[in-house]
């Protein structure tokens, strides 16, 4: 087989997608323009495809390759051989007819642009499948057909049936598609390539591979779901909720044949094994019989045709499953024939529906007189479906029966022929019923609408197909003989010597079976009424019910499970988190070798024991009294105090200072918030829960204590020596911790002040949001539940503050300036200053105080970040990285030498941010408080006895 690179192939594959872009736009230019814009692309693609016919007829494979994801082996490789050509012609040819038909079929209310866009998307996807050389690429298009068919089935989205059918099709074909992905990956691995041209050469490698079986099963799952094979057949009838042009196109001519295409495509490498024969052949046979059986009793024209399609797809599948070249050839021929007559049948059914406003066979009959053209077309094509001689359907059905007659199933030569014949009988029955109950018989007077033949545009497409039915049926060899040869060669991967296609093969078993089928069909139809009674008496296992039950159960079960797990109970989340952490820690600990530490321990003194006692008792008290919220705040203050003393004891003065200051500000914030919160926590937890939580937290505590002990009691080598050596010479400060903070790891500090800044902005934004929301109303209706002391701004406090605040501010400055060399620094200083101001607020009230000293909170934060940032950036001008510090010693008479360091500017940034952040937070909280309608004092204290007339309106 020779290969020929041809870019035309890419163009053909791309044209439908290009065509999909237009209808949506062209609809503004009218329905004709819309249809034309879609038809144009299809026609062009078809013409281009036909230009490749000579190469295909020469047995060449036309290829075109674009690298897409070479690392994965997924490439945009296209190939065209006989099989692809056949499908391409079907997709584009029938597509063109459908576009024409749909133009007349769809009503003015339907969004036609959308329809043609979806249709063209589907066409492109389908064409992609058959032209793909890369099996992963094929999967891509495969899934695309599922998606586009979902859109098309759900096109009438306002109908329940449309939505349900669309979802069902998506689910079932989606399932198959996913299986196919797995299958293709395995196949690729077994073959060593994802390119079909490669894979098709490696039959032995694939069939010997241990991956063959799983790959086969997964691929067949994909094929069977797509081609509606039993037991996945049930979605197809429900897809009939789509407009009839869609049913004709997707659900008879093209998409459902994708599975067949896949089986045909991989036939050379997958077939020929027992597994293939039994799985594919049996499935096909069963599907054929069941589909035909159900079709007989369907009153809906489209349902009848849908089950008929199921049956015919089964027939073709069975033929492919037989694994012989002759059977494969027969399969190919039936693919061609079924496409022709079934598309026409759907279109005629659509015409009937369009004209009579019903497709219920029970309400039809006698249409032969009212719409003779339609009736003729329908009868011709239905006869083909029944396999009556002189129609194309006869040819392939005959071949099928012939093949069936020679097939042995588990060493039984009768089973397959018997069931094939039954299938044929049933087929003939529903075909005859289609003719007799719709078109024959007397004219009725109760059609929902008076039927007559449609305009030419509407029956043109089925008419053309009906002509093809006859022509092929009468002159098979002349019309499709060489085509069949080409296709069959490409399917089987061999050069076959086919028998000539002819109507008369002599008296063969197949002929007998055929005759039996026709006679049986007529008999059954004549006894239709009792036959139907019998059917109605039978149990009807409904696949849809099962499907609905599965989906419902899945939805309910998953929803319940998911809601139980994610039920919004934070406390549970935390408990799970804690248990996970403890378990992970224990598991990790037990997974590696451990030796106890050997570091000598420090001996505790009395004070240490007292400190420990304090923490322990206050912690226990917190747990014990945690419902009394104010008390908890007092107790937590003890905890904080002792922690800072521990820091003192263990050589960390900076930490102690920070702890103390932060403690107070936190306390203030909590008190401010607690003002509006319930003052007590109700007793809600059950004892079980308390026990559970105690156990979890106890375990966590023990684990943490053990971990801390294990760590503290072992020696280690650390990078810290460097800091101790370089703090003064390199960083210019004697407080190593501070030098680390503003210099060695100044970047951390930069992040840290930004955290503070963001915190303040968040608090501010939240405060503002509360002013607009429900909170604002809650606050406006605030009722003080407890009587409050009348002592609002007590004199003594005000006076004390007048002295304390300047000192505190000075302490702030002092702490700031010394930070680089001694415990202190910008952060603590910022908090000291903030607390000094806070003291003033506590004394005289927020409004009074903040009116007298205006602190632009936002600017403080902004400047803080900017100062820190700009200080860091300043280093760039010295060619140094961000935050590189510089320091020097300045000597100005008469002042003694002092040090100037950029780190101090950085610290200033920290200072400003801290002050701004704390103040902004306080401001937001006070704003919330003022929303309760609090009055504002205009004097610093409630009563100033020294004022000349203290009771006079205050200044």
């Amino acid at each position: 087989m020779t290969e020929q690179m041809n870019v035309t192939l890419a163009l053909i594959a791309a044209l439908p997608f290009v065509g999909a872009l237009f209808p949506g736009l062209m609809i503004r230019a009218g329905r004709d323009a819309c249809a034309l814009s879609a038809g144009w692309a299809t026609l062009s693609a078809l013409i281009l495809l036909l230009t490749l016919a000579p190469s295909v007829w020469d047995g060449e494979t036309v290829v075109f390759q674009v690298e897409w994801m070479p690392l994965l082996g997924l490439n945009a490789n296209f190939m065209l051989d006989g099989l692809g050509f056949l499908f391409g012609c079907m997709i584009l040819g029938i597509g063109l007819l459908i576009i024409l038909y749909a133009r007349f079929y769809l009503s003015r209310d339907d969004p036609m642009g959308q329809f043609y866009t979806y249709l063209m998307l589907f066409q492109g996807a389908m064409l992609g499948i058959v032209l793909s050389d890369n099996i992963l690429m094929m999967v891509v298009f495969w899934e695309l057909t599922s998606l586009s068919s979902f859109l098309l089935i759900g096109y009438w989205k306002h109908t329940v049936a449309g939505r349900q059918g669309a979802r069902m099709a998506l689910t079932v074909t989606g399932l198959g598609g996913l299986a196919l992905i797995g299958g293709m990956l395995l196949l690729g691995e077994a073959a060593g390539s994802y390119d079909l041209t490669e894979i098709l050469q490696r039959r032995e490698a694939i069939q010997d591979s241990p991956l063959y079986m799983p790959a086969l099963l997964l691929i067949l799952l994909g094929a069977f779901t797509k081609s509606a094979q039993f037991p996945f057949h049930f979605w197809l009838p429900h897809a009939m909720a789509a407009p009839t042009p869609v049913s004709a196109y997707l659900h008879s001519a093209t998409m459902v044949k994708a599975g067949l295409f896949l089986m045909a495509r991989l036939w050379p490498v997958l077939s020929g094994t027992d597994a293939w024969f039994y799985i594919v052949g049996t499935t096909g046979l069963v599907t054929m019989v069941i589909g035909a059986w159900i079709a007989i009793f369907k009153d809906d024209l489209k349902a009848l045709l849908a089950y008929s399609t199921v049956s015919h797809l089964g027939l073709i599948t069975m033929l492919l499953g037989f694994g012989t070249t002759a059977a494969a050839t027969a399969a190919v021929l039936h693919i061609i024939n079924h496409t022709i007559f079934k598309a026409a049948l759907f279109m005629t059914a659509g015409i009937v529906d369009h004209e009579a406003h019903t497709r219920s066979i029970k309400r039809l009959g006698g249409l032969r007189h009212l719409m003779p053209i339609t009736a003729t077309l329908a009868i011709v094509t239905a006869l083909s479906m029944a396999g009556i001689p002189l129609t194309n359907g006869f040819l392939s059905k005959e071949l099928m029966l012939e093949e069936a007659a020679h097939t042995t199933w588990v060493s039984n030569p009768w089973i397959v022929p018997l069931f094939a014949t039954i299938g044929a009988v049933l087929s003939a029955t529903y075909a005859f019923r289609f003719i007799a109950h719709v078109f024959l018989g007397p004219v009725r007077h109760d059609y929902p609408s008076k039927p007559h033949d449609p305009p030419f545009g509407m029956y043109a497409a089925p008419a053309l197909l009906a002509v093809l039915v006859m022509v092929v049926g009468v002159f098979p060899e002349a019309t499709v003989g060489s085509f069949l040869q080409v296709v069959a060669d490409s399917v089987t991967g061999q050069h076959l010597h086919l028998h000539e296609l002819k109507l008369w093969h002599g008296f063969t078993p197949a002929l007998g079976m055929s005759a039996a089928a026709i006679i049986g069909g007529l008999v059954l139809l004549s006894a239709y009424v009792p036959f139907e009674q019998f059917w109605k008496a039978l149990p009807h296992p409904e696949a849809k019910a099962v499907f609905d039950a599965i989906v419902t159960t899945l939805h309910r079960g998953c929803g319940y499970f998911s809601n139980v797990l994610h039920d919004g109970r934070m406390t549970k989340y935390i408990a799970i988190f804690a248990v996970t952490t403890i378990a992970a820690g224990l598991y990790a600990f037990s997974s590696g070798p451990y030796l106890p530490g050997t570091r000598p321990m420090l001996t505790p003194t009395l004070v240490d024991y007292v400190g420990a006692l304090l923490v322990i008792s206050s912690t226990v008290a917190i747990i014990n009294y945690h419902r009394s919220r104010l008390l908890v705040l007092v107790l937590i203050g003890i905890n904080g105090l002792v922690v800072s003393i521990i820091f003192v004891r263990l050589s960390a003065p900076d930490l102690a200072m920070t702890q103390v200051t932060v403690e107070v500000v936190t306390l203030i914030l909590m008190l401010l918030a607690l003002h509006f919160l319930p003052k007590r926590t109700p007793r809600e937890s059950s004892w079980n829960r308390i026990g559970r939580d105690m156990a979890i937290s106890g375990a966590a505590g023990i684990a943490v204590a053990a971990l801390a002990y294990a760590l503290m009691t072992r020696d280690f080598s650390t990078i810290s020596g460097y800091y101790l050596e370089n703090a003064k010479p390199g960083g210019g400060g004697t407080n190593v911790v501070n030098v680390i903070l503003v210099d060695f790891r100044g970047y951390d500090t930069f992040g840290e002040i930004i955290v503070l800044g963001i915190a303040a902005l968040t608090i501010y934004a939240l405060g503002e949001a509360l002013m607009d929301g429900k909170a604002s109303r809650t606050l406006a209706n605030w009722v003080q539940h407890y009587p409050y002391s009348k002592d609002r701004h007590p004199l003594m406090m005000v006076v004390a503050t007048r002295v304390m605040m300047p000192i505190s501010l000075m302490v702030g400055v002092y702490i700031f300036l010394r930070g680089h060399n001694d415990p202190g620094g910008g952060f603590i200083a910022g908090l000291v200053v903030a607390i000094a101001l806070l003291m003033q607020y506590m004394a005289s009230g927020f409004s009074w105080a903040s009116e007298r000293i205006h602190i632009p909170y936002h600017s403080f934060i902004g400047w803080g970040v900017l100062v820190a940032g700009i200080t860091g950036i300043g280093a760039w001008f010295a060619g140094q990285p961000f935050l590189t510090s510089a320091f020097g010693y300045v000597h100005i008479e008469p002042i003694e030498e002092f040090e100037l360091a950029t780190a101090m500017a950085f610290d200033l940034g920290v200072f400003l941010t801290v002050v701004g952040a704390v103040m902004l937070a306080l401001y937001s909280l006070s704003r919330i408080a003022r929303r309760t309608g609090e009055t504002v004092n205009v004097a610093p204290m409630d009563f100033d006895p020294s004022a000349e007339d203290p009771l006079e309106e205050p200044r």
Partner: protein, 127 residues
């Protein structure tokens, strides 16, 4: 000189320790919050004060490091202790003591915690 300092420092420390302990003991022993208030307010201030002065002397004499830091803390405590005590007393009275259980002020107005003065409408801040 050093000996005197040593004796002085030691004495101060011992006294401070005793008074500190006394303050906390009073807190335990006395049976009413108002009474308990007396113990720590006074005793512990002296306790800390003693320690602070001892520290000052100690650093000045033994480490040749004359510091006045400690004065600052002392001042701080002495300024704040009455305010703290006053607040604690007021909080206690607010919670546990009715106005009628207190002696009257003898003036025009009642005690600050119970009596609002200057009923004049004050602005409601809406900022």
């Amino acid at each position: 000189m050093e000996l005197i300092a040593e004796i002085l420092v030691s004495a101060l420390l011992v006294i401070a320790g005793l008074f500190g302990l006394l303050g906390s003991w009073g807190l335990v022993k006395l049976d009413d919050t108002m009474r308990r208030l007396h113990a720590p307010t006074k005793a512990t201030t002296l306790g800390v004060g003693g320690v602070l002065i001892a520290s000052m002397i100690y650093f000045a004499v033994f480490l040749d490091h004359l510091t006045f830091h400690e004065l600052l803390i002392t001042a701080f405590l002495f300024i704040t202790a009455p305010i703290t005590a006053n607040f604690v007393a007021k909080a206690h009275m607010h919670r546990d003591i009715k106005e009628r259980d207190l002696p009257p002020t003898g003036g025009q107005y009642g005690w600050a915690g119970y009596d609002e003065i200057g009923d004049a409408e004050q602005p409601i801040d809406t900022k």
